[in-house]
Amino acid sequence: MNIIETQNLTKSYGKFTAVSEINLHVPKGTVYGFLGPNGAGKSTAMKMFLGLTKPTGGAFVINGKQFPGDRVQILKEVGSFIEAPAFYGNLTGEENLDIIRRILGLPKSSVSEALEIVGLTQYRKRLAKKYSLGMKQRLGLAGALIGKPPILILDEPTNGLDPVGIHEIRALIRSLPQQFECTVFVSSHLLSEIELMADNIGILNHGRLLFEGTLDTLKSSAASMGYPTDNLEDTFFALIDADNRQRGGVR
């Protein structure tokens, strides 16, 4: 069963199309890696799921519910982290999470749980604007994970983390479906990173979906098209490059 599904989802800014008629299928209880170079439209697609921006065409269903009618109901089930961490600089990490907890109507203990998961317990009393980049990123993640929502939408969650942090967060994301029975929709620039976390992959370039399926399918179809497959990153680059060349100067 697909917990997130899109039908020809499109977002245009004037004449420029950031997301072009994509059809995504995210099975329940899996990690879905959303891959693409800068400006591919990953964040834009995720923003549409959260109602931060309006689609200009197509539709999507999340857990059987549709925007904009079931907006509040969808947002109750989705924990999210989009692009840069967003927080109140004048509040501490703990107070920031407490605001989110109150809106979600969660028990008090959920704040310390979320802090523990992302490793911020020690710094919970520090003002968020005084956090380091990685700590801000962790706070953003805590804000998405708090209350263990059934669906997680994470936009480049390992951005700005140190190698240990990257490893921790990847392991965490990998373990979420088994631990909390949730579905994770996670974006990244690196196929090598997605490979470590995801069951399914969607590859986006210039707003169009180039590929959707499992890693094995990607490898075999890449091989059949004559792309290199021994190094996954090369496969990814070859795929993007071929697509760019095919578009020529049209963009």
């Binding site: 959260l50 109602g51 931060l52 921006t53 309006k54 509040v72 109901q73 947002l75 109750k76 989705v78 999210s80 989009i82 840069a84 961490p85 967003a86 927080f87 109140y88 600089g89 004048n90 509040l91 107070e95 920031n96 407490d98 605001i99 989110i100 109150r102 809106i103 979600l104 003002l127 968020a128 604007k129 953003g140 804000g143």
Partner: protein
């Protein structure tokens, strides 16, 4: 619920100290005026509250309006500065709930302001004038009138603050509106309906008819600005 939430969000921003300090400063105006120049005022043949407000309310209300503008900008700056508002928009609430929560906080601190000022005016009346039996009633009515006429200012200031991600733009527009309001002649009924000019009006200088018109105008403007904000929030989403 959303009142408490919005109050938490202004922690450490200087929001509450600004209103408390500003209220005390504004309340000091009639006290100082009477302390140094009471001989000008005690001889006037009018109700004490009337004399005091005529002499001091222009400055006091100017304080109030500026504080409301600054307070509104502080509130939305906490949302925009580090992008917290984007996180809020991905949570199961409405943006309008946030707006009205902030309105509630601004009204609460406005009541605090007016309360401090009313106590000051009342104290001056008792100390420097002969107290008549209807002083309590007069003071209370005045307080209610000020509060009602303050509402359009509160709504308008917060609407302006909510529009721009850059606090300085909101603050600039707000301050310009305040100065425009001070230049409006207070006898011209239509011009004084400008939201930032309404709080300059006092009960004592008007007939019952005019007072009723002002009260109605205050209520109507408040509702209209609230509707405008709801519309803006709806439309803005499609442009992002």
């Amino acid at each position: 619920m959303s009142f408490g939430l919005e109050l938490r969000k202004v922690k450490r921003t200087g929001f509450l100290p600004a209103f408390l300090g500003g209220g005390i400063l504004a309340a000091a105006v009639p006290v100082l005026n009477m302390a140094f120049r009471s001989e000008i005022y005690v001889g006037i043949n009018a109700a004490p509250v009337n004399i005091l407000l005529n002499a001091n309310w222009q400055i006091m209300s100017m304080f109030n309006i500026l504080l409301v503008v600054v307070g509104a900008c502080i509130m939305y700056n906490t949302e925009y500065a580090e992008g917290a508002i984007q996180k809020m928009c991905t949570l199961p609430t409405k943006e309008s709930t946030m707006f009205f929560g902030k309105i509630a906080v601004l009204i609460a601190v406005s009541i605090l302001l007016l309360l401090i000022e009313t106590i000051s005016v009342f104290g001056c009346s008792v100390h420097w004038f002969e107290v008549s039996a209807d002083l309590y009633m007069e003071t209370l009515k005045s307080f209610g009138f000020f509060l009602l006429l303050m509402l359009p200012t509160v709504f308008c200031a917060l609407l302006i603050a909510s529009l721009s991600k850059n606090m300085w733009i909101g603050l600039g527009i707000g301050v310009m509106c305040v100065f425009a309001a001070t230049m409006i002649p207070s006898q011209n009924f239509v011009l004084t309906l400008f939201p930032f000019a309404l709080p300059f009006q006092t009960l004592e200088n008007h007939t019952a008819d005019v007072i009723r018109n002002y009260a109605a105008a205050g209520a109507v403007e408040t509702v209209l600005i609230a509707l405008l904000e709801i519309m803006i929030l709806k439309v803005r989403r499609s442009f992002e």
